[in-house]
């Protein structure tokens, strides 16, 4: 019995590795012929025409769009999410704690296609004024710069980032709240007993102890943002000029959204090209995870 259980757990652990390796092998196997047939540079080309003769496609715009929307989403979502989590764990009266917790969990469970449809039909039209305001008054921020005369707003990278932020927020909030609640009550009481105010108690007792958990929560949120497909495909206007300027109506593109839009009608080279872009997304996610691990590891040693 002991041996069988041990064997079972070992098999499960091995399975994870096998699946990861199988995914990587599949992606490489399908991507290589398409990459061989690419007559342009995969890294710098500003078009996605893999089914043309000659085949031309490049990843630059997709990588730029994927990273800029995900990072912008985190910048918007994380402060609010941590605020929600801290309010629920530290400030909210007990009667409110449970309902607030349920609502954040519920938001995290809404399927992404719902966010996408809501984003494109409800949010985007109502955000036009805000986007025009940002373009007019905050154009000194590099991300908000627009060329005069260029259409502003609409289904821009900024609009996509806001939808992503709303999708990421509940995940970060729900996990952070769990983490904050785990901090022993005695730590808070100790801080308060030493004369700390409530804010100081949070800063010296709650936040340091929960840092690894919060970093994990943010990384999970980033993972959702990087891989989000259908909501972005619905909200974002697809363009292939690599750009970090968030407010252009021309929009941009992300790896996952591009796969969703192009796969249906793609030919053999087209599918290979999309799989190659999937490989890049796989690599980005891997790097993000490794970096997150490294941060956590360093923190643990420092503590």
């Amino acid at each position: 019995m002991e041996a069988a259980f041990r064997g079972g757990t070992a098999a499960s652990a091995t399975l994870v590795f096998v699946v990861i390796v199988a995914i990587a092998a599949f992606l490489v196997h399908k991507a290589v012929p398409a990459l061989d047939g690419n007559s342009a540079s995969f890294l710098t080309e500003r078009q996605w025409l893999p089914d043309r003769e000659p085949s031309r496609f490049g990843i630059a715009a997709l990588v730029a769009g994927t990273i800029v929307t995900s990072v912008a989403a985190l910048v918007l979502a994380v402060p609010v999410a941590l605020g929600v989590a801290l309010f629920v764990s530290e400030y909210a009266p007990p009667r409110l704690k449970a309902p607030l917790g349920y609502v954040t969990d519920l938001l995290a469970a809404v399927p992404s296609v719902v966010y996408g449809l809501w984003g494109v039909f409800f949010l985007v039209p109502r955000m036009q004024k805000l986007q025009e305001f940002l373009a007019a008054h905050l154009s000194w921020v590099p991300f908000f710069r627009v060329t005069p005369g260029e259409p502003v707003g609409g289904r821009s990278l900024f609009a996509a980032s806001v939808v992503l932020a709303i999708m990421v927020l509940p995940i970060v909030a729900a996990i952070s709240r769990e983490v904050f609640v785990q901090v022993p009550q005695s730590h808070r009481e100790a801080a308060l007993a030493l004369g700390a105010t409530k804010l100081e108690a949070i800063r010296i007792a709650v936040l340091p102890a929960s840092r690894p958990g919060v970093v994990s929560a943010i990384m999970l949120g980033l993972g959702r943002a990087l891989g989000e497909t259908i909501a972005v495909a619905l909200v974002l206007s697809a363009a292939f000029t690599p750009s970090l300027r968030l407010l252009r109506a021309e929009g941009g593109n992300t790896i996952a959204a591009n796969i969703a839009t192009k796969f249906g009608e793609a030919g053999v080279p087209g599918r290979g090209a999309l799989i190659a872009s999937g490989l890049v997304l796989f690599a980005i996610t891997l790097v993000v995870n490794v970096v997150a691990r490294a941060i956590l590891f360093r923190n643990r040693r420092a503590a």
């Binding site: 025409l49 089914d51 494109v120 609409g154 619905l234 363009a239 021309e250 839009t261 192009k262 249906g264």
Partner: protein
């Protein structure tokens, strides 16, 4: 229910503008000759979807014991499903490529050929969102090319004014919207502009283009949705999508110099001048002449094909009966659904080809 079908009959009889498209009509089907029984499956072109559904409704309603199923999976997917033998016929907006043809021929069996039959015709229209224009906007091919290549950025640009003398155009930016997915509609647009506005149109020909700017959305419903939500927006799409979104569409100048509306008869007039290429197998290809001098022709016209085997079809009796209805009586409802009837010269050849299927 009875009142609804009466109303439908009345509108189809008057030929008045009917905006309740895509729902089909309850008008009594004419000319259904039943044959065969069992199930027929098709897949492919989304362009054909609405008219296929109408044919299926008419045909299976009149012929007991028959089921026809058409899935609008996209032309490329339809062709590959036909090649794999998982569907009885495919719908496609463009002709099969050589490797696709070889695969389809192999599926049909030794010595048999997969053939193209142009069963559906329709127009690609330019639908726009501009407030306060009394009549339909008029556009020449060069202006359209300028708009979609980003050279014309405002609605009060001199090129648009020249097409619309005496009209006060809004002083707002043009928001051109194109397809983000690979599409037969993009292919038709690019072929038309490549033929008729060579100097302005620099993007070449294809189902996917390297757009210099402008917004993009997925699918015909996606692009029309964006135009509906965007003041100053314009896109190219099948007529039925413009109608179902209550958006106006432009009259387009043909090679004779006339600005023509995309009503069914004008589209058929353009297709009647298409160059036909037929083979003894029944294969029929129409090469649309975008530069037709026919004064009534709406120039941005397209045909969509079904692909079947010339011989060796599974359930050939049912396929013959269904396509027989599609190319004859089935064309009478085309106009109302936002399509155009296949012109007579093509319809005659189609009828013979369908009769010869086995």
């Amino acid at each position: 229910m009875a009142a609804a079908s009466l109303a439908a009959l009345a509108t189809s009889a008057c030929g008045s503008d009917d905006n309740t498209l895509g729902r089909g009509t309850n008008a009594a089907p004419v000319n259904v000759t039943c044959g065969g029984s069992g199930t027929l499956t098709g897949a492919g072109s989304t362009f054909q979807k609405n008219i296929e559904l109408q044919w299926i409704k008419d045909f299976t309603g009149a012929c007991d014991g028959t089921t026809v199923d058409y899935k609008a999976t996209g032309s490329g997917a339809g062709i590959s499903q036909f090649g794999e033998g998982t569907v009885d016929y495919a719908g496609t907006d463009s002709l099969m490529k050589d490797d696709e043809q070889a695969k389809a021929d192999a599926r049909c069996g030794r010595g048999n050929t997969a053939i193209h039959l142009p069963v559906a015709a329709g127009a690609v229209v330019f639908t726009y969102h501009l407030r306060g224009l009394p009549d339909a906007l008029r556009l020449s091919p060069a202006t359209i090319a300028g708009i979609f290549t980003g050279k014309i950025t405002r609605w009060d640009a001199p090129e648009v004014k020249a097409d619309n003398p005496g009209v006060t155009l809004p002083t707002i930016a043009v928001q051109a919207v194109h397809r983000s997915d690979s599409s037969g509609t993009t292919d038709v647009l690019s072929r038309f502009l490549d033929a008729q506005a060579k100097d302005t149109w620099t993007l070449g020909v294809g189902k996917e283009l390297s757009w210099p700017g402008g917004q993009a959305a997925k699918g015909s419903d996606g692009v029309t949705g964006v135009v509906k939500a965007t003041e100053g927006g314009i896109t190219y799409t099948e007529l039925s999508f413009a109608k179902s979104n209550d958006l106006p569409w432009a009259k387009v100048r043909n090679a004779s110099g006339a600005y023509v509306d995309a009503v069914g008869l004008n589209v058929s007039a353009a297709l009647a001048t298409a160059k036909l290429e037929s083979a003894p197998t029944g294969d029929l290809r129409a090469d649309v002449d975008y530069g037709t001098k026919e004064p009534a022709a709406y120039p941005v016209a397209a045909v969509s094909y079904v692909i079947v085997c010339d011989k060796g079809n599974k359930n050939a009796e049912l396929l013959k009966a269904f396509l027989g209805y599609a190319v004859s009586g089935g064309q009478s409802g085309a106009d109302q659904l936002g399509y155009a009837p296949v012109p007579t010269n093509i319809a005659v050849k189609l009828g013979l080809a369908v009769q010869a299927l086995t």
